[in-house]
Symmetry: C2
């Protein structure tokens, strides 16, 4: 005889809960939500035999001790659903509990037998016992009413009344409110993390502060950036992202256009962080002082703008860490520190940090302290440069650590890499993520990508942030400088998802000179200072202002996953519906063709907008003010890229 | 300041292993396999940055202390694969381990730099260190060779040799064999359960022993069943399943055709188990003695047949448990025991066991002891009646308990119920499961169902057993008694999956009288004894013999999941390929039309049979002996249901 299998703890339990959604990797990671989001939880729930079952969705904010619960309902095929509103920021635990509902089974049995004309006796005795059990749980009027009902059950002379009670909706309400709950099966606890609203709805503008000067030839300063805030606010952006503002290393400094050796006067690359002036918590003196920076952070808030800083964990050879902690870098057998390489290319101006260092705990603490210092300066948004080249477990730890003290902190992952790596960063805690949007240009590509992002598992943890350009990416598609294409790529970024951004003023000024044969800018601001005519206004700045205003005014834009594509018989037109639970309904129709007029019949899923085939409704173009009366699901649209290559319709009842 | 997040145990680890397949419900249940099956394990594996990574599939039989491991290979898109043969019955643990492969990264870097014409120095110093590390792990000749290589790395005058070694396949072999394995990440341990071969490949014949008598009017006995073994063996079956053989209750006994009151002389329902003669471990005396039964079990083995007993956990009111353990049943408030009901129907002859009893542990032990007693009688296969009306956790426990002592034990779940309940029973340990095969009759239905069974997650735990009829199911489709349809439904059951069975001799004798408006037999053997002319032979018995012989002779039939449907331009013909790793290739082509000739062009996926478009091959109909020379992927077939509605081709090289 071999060892015995131990009895399970709950041997009398007959319910099984499985395949709970949302659930990421068996509960390993938290699902993400935005404050006040309605969370829908589904589960497969089965019991043996033919009894009824009852199920509750249980949830609890980290600040709470008691579980709250809501009744789950069957959707058929043993799938159950329940919903709750995540009304607080931070972590929630949630799970599903289920049990055999003997009282509901009894009620059903009574119903069938009464319909069959049977005279019941033992069933009413059973009913009396059930009611007495409920009475113990109930209070006040309910308790009295249930006790009275139990008496009627026990009184043979009140048979008809007893049967009425047994079959009543009241009885069903009681059994739902005061369930017997014997040998309930509880699923494992899952985690939900609730962020503030900006995590899911934000419009980013990015610029190099050193290019903010009005006067040609001058190094831009934080004060210059402050002077630009009215312009940025006018365009409607609410996040201002700035590349690193720390002292720039001198050893092996790069020159203009990423040439190997800087010439005298070259301003260097802000990503070559650290000099004798300091590292990640020091300020590049030409930009101003730390106080100037803090002043900028506060000035932004007056315009409802938040500063996003750039966390690039890498060092110039002059960074203080190189002297103080050479063991935080990779030491070669000859004692030198390994610089960044992509053989045969060498990046001698950059030392990557070695996350495999024996001293990893101190390294992590120091990196955390960088973020905590920025947080003390008032920063609540951080764009992380190439997070996929730093260890995953570090990010998981540091993001959780920082959010303990600063739950408002938003981390944007700038990882343009393989899908599973990008997913991992989002799962382990990144609030938002850059995406493949730049390289999804055809109708089929966009629909496929958006479906993956908004209908697949990623919708529970990966918040896309769409950028039609960045300071690293000058898309091939825009290198012709064709204004309608700039408009189209902007429009889709701003309307397909809740979070988006542009690198300006290159974008709105249609700057497009490419570095030869690369998807990069020539004379990139990464390697030199540029001077812009910040007073200039054009069609792009106008449309951006309008779109950002409309985004704020229409709740359908506050969500990314509320997207449904509409069929349209033209491969050059993309039509999509965004609907909000408050009734706001937006229909975007955009041409993908920047050169020719395109028309087609767009087909609206009427049930999504609450209309019948014979009903008329108004589509109101919020960009032009034009309105059209439409009827049924199929209507004609036509777009001229020289005028405006898209409609931004609000669907309105007549 | 809030509490800190603790540092992870492996802070220097940079690898992540995810989405391992097969894996059932996050590792909650064991994956199933058949002895000597090749197990393919895949995983998503990522690391940060651009280094190389290495991964191993680890596995260990429950009898072993040390892990075995095999190298995993990249399949692209961060998916990795490894394989091992499960050569022992019982449990295996398996998992995946991954780490940054610094040596492979170094080799790649050396390669790129050498191609770029760089002169290497620190890289060779690094190589020397790597080789010294390997030498510590290596033994014998390898150790010497690696030590020598390390010396060459260190010797500047042997630069060219050193470079050659660094870039060599030998170096790659060494780094694979003696990996550095720093800060490896190990995935959670998953379970695999390996069954004996019959779990995946069996042909069941079912009969009522009491109907086995040759002489009309006599109650069949185990001795009569023994006399039928040559006939059953001649038809090629290897499992003989018999409904319950225990004493039948007398209280409220059912009569013929399930009438409420038995008449004098009615033999009762074998599922009304238990009388004063005993319960689940006693033998219905009219069938013979316990010794007779044991003799039958042994006699079967001479014909390579195993007896499958029927476990129906329910009691007649006369069962000894009712007196000894009334608390194992549901006691109503009036003190009576609740009989089975499906209101308004009453089954007063059956008391279901109450798995919610406070005394559940003793109940479980008693039920286990029933199975253990049968096992002592020599029984190694059990068909379980309606397992879905007994508690899931009981089954999980009892199957594991019994298999500890009798690893050969096979449990077949007779649960014709909802998909998720059937899946749960298979997941928790049932070896085989009845299916919806009876109700999957059109081409689209069969392809959809087979795809679910053999390509979806169920393939890892749910072993289908296809029955074209059972003693409970007289399919509507066969109620016309049309021989070609009996042939077709038999043929598909026997060739689509590894495990199948028929209820005989009703099936082979085309018995089809329906109980009015039900998918059941009139004058069912469940309620009365039948006498058959067991000597009778017909087309069905001939084809069954042939198909079972061919199944045994062709290894492609020993697996269920090796199925691929072939496109054919006729909705009334189903064509499917089954291929084995030893080169055995079977093509089944069956008409679904029992009345008309049907023809069509069947298209073979040539890469599955290892042929090119221009190659000829022979298809050899193993049922008729006919051979045809085919070429390319598209060939014509024609089937006449009056002759034979199917081809069973072996594909042979010319």
């Amino acid at each position: 005889m071999k060892n015995h299998i131990p009895f399970p703890a709950l041997g009398q339990s007959r319910a099984i809960v499985e395949r709970v959604t949302p659930e990421i990797d068996g509960g390993r990671f938290a699902v993400k939500a935005i404050i006040n989001e309605l969370i829908t939880v589904e589960a497969d729930i089965i019991i043996d035999g033919h009894d009824h079952l009852a199920a509750r969705l249980m949830y609890k904010h980290e600040s709470e001790k008691e579980w709250s619960e809501v009744v789950m309902h069957s959707m058929g095929n043993d799938r159950w659903v329940g919903r709750f509103v995540a009304s607080k920021q931070g972590f929630y635990a949630y799970t599903v509990e289920a049990w055999v509902d003997h009282i509901a089974s009894w009620q059903h049995e009574v119903d069938l037998k009464v319909r069959d004309g049977q005279h019941l006796k033992v069933e009413l005795m059973q009913g009396e016992l059930f009611l007495k059990g409920m009475a113990k749980l109930a209070k006040g009027d309910d308790k009295k009413a249930i006790q009275e009902a139990a008496k009627i059950m026990a009184n043979e002379s009140r048979y008809n009344e007893a049967i009425q009670i047994a079959m009543s909706d009241q009885m069903h309400e009681w059994l739902t409110k005061y369930p017997e709950r014997q040998s309930a099966y509880r699923y494992q606890e899952l985690k939900l993390y609730v962020d503030r609203e900006k995590a899911g709805f934000s419009a980013w503008y990015s610029l190099f502060p050193r290019s903010a000067a009005r006067e040609v030839g001058k190094h831009g300063t934080f004060k210059d950036v402050e002077a630009l805030l009215p312009r940025i606010a006018e365009m409607g952006f609410d996040v201002l992202y700035i590349p690193p503002i720390h002292p720039i290393g001198k050893t092996n400094r790069k020159g203009k256009n990423n040439t190997v050796n800087a010439e005298e006067g070259d301003s260097g690359v802000p990503y070559g962080i650290g000099s004798e002036e300091g590292g990640h918590t020091a300020i590049h003196s030409e930009l101003g002082t730390l106080d100037d920076f803090k002043h900028l952070v506060q000035a932004c808030l007056k315009f409802d703008i938040e500063i996003a800083m750039d966390l690039a964990i890498q060092c110039s050879p002059d960074h203080p860490w190189v002297k103080e902690h050479p063991d935080w870098f990779k030491i070669l057998p000859d004692g030198s520190i390994k610089y960044a390489e992509n053989p045969p290319k060498k990046y001698q101006d950059i030392y990557p940090v070695n996350f495999e260092t024996e001293d990893w705990q101190n390294l992590w603490q120091e990196l955390k302290s960088v973020i905590m210092t920025w947080a003390e300066w008032g920063v609540r948004i951080i764009r992380v440069d190439n997070p996929h080249t730093k260890s995953f477990c570090f990010w998981e730890w540091v993001i959780a650590e920082v959010k303990k003290d600063y739950p408002d902190m938003i981390f944007l992952a700038e990882a343009f890499t393989k899908p599973k790596v990008m997913q991992q960063l989002a799962k382990l805690g990144y609030t938002q993520s850059y995406t493949y949007y730049v390289w999804r240009t055809s109708k089929a590509e966009i629909i496929e990508y958006m479906t993956e992002l908004t209908k697949g598992e990623m919708r529970h943890y990966f918040r896309p942030n769409f950028w039609p350009n960045t300071h690293d990416i000058n898309p091939y598609m825009l290198q012709g400088g064709h204004e309608p294409l700039f408009l189209i790529r902007y429009f889709m970024a701003a309307t397909l998802v809740g979070n988006y951004g542009i690198f300006g003023p290159s974008y709105e000024y249609l700057y497009h000179a490419p570095y030869p044969n690369k998807e990069e800018y020539a004379f990139s601001e990464k390697y030199e200072i540029k001077w812009w005519n910040w007073e200039h206004r054009n069609k792009l700045t106008y449309i951006i202002s309008q779109v950002n205003r409309i985004r704020k005014e229409n709740t359908a834009f506050r969500n990314t996953n509320n997207l449904d594509f509409c069929s349209i018989d033209n491969e050059q037109i993309l039509a999509y519906l965004k609907t909000a639970s408050d009734g706001n309904r937006i229909l975007c129709v955009t041409s993908l063709d920047g050169y020719n007029r395109q028309g087609g019949l767009v087909k609206i899923p009427l049930w999504k907008i609450g209309k019948n085939e014979w009903e008329s409704y108004r589509v109101h173009d919020l960009l032009t003010g034009a309105t059209y009366i439409w009827k049924g699901d199929t209507n004609y649209v036509e777009l001229d890229p020289q005028i405006l290559p898209f409609h931004l319709f609000r669907i309105e009842d007549i």
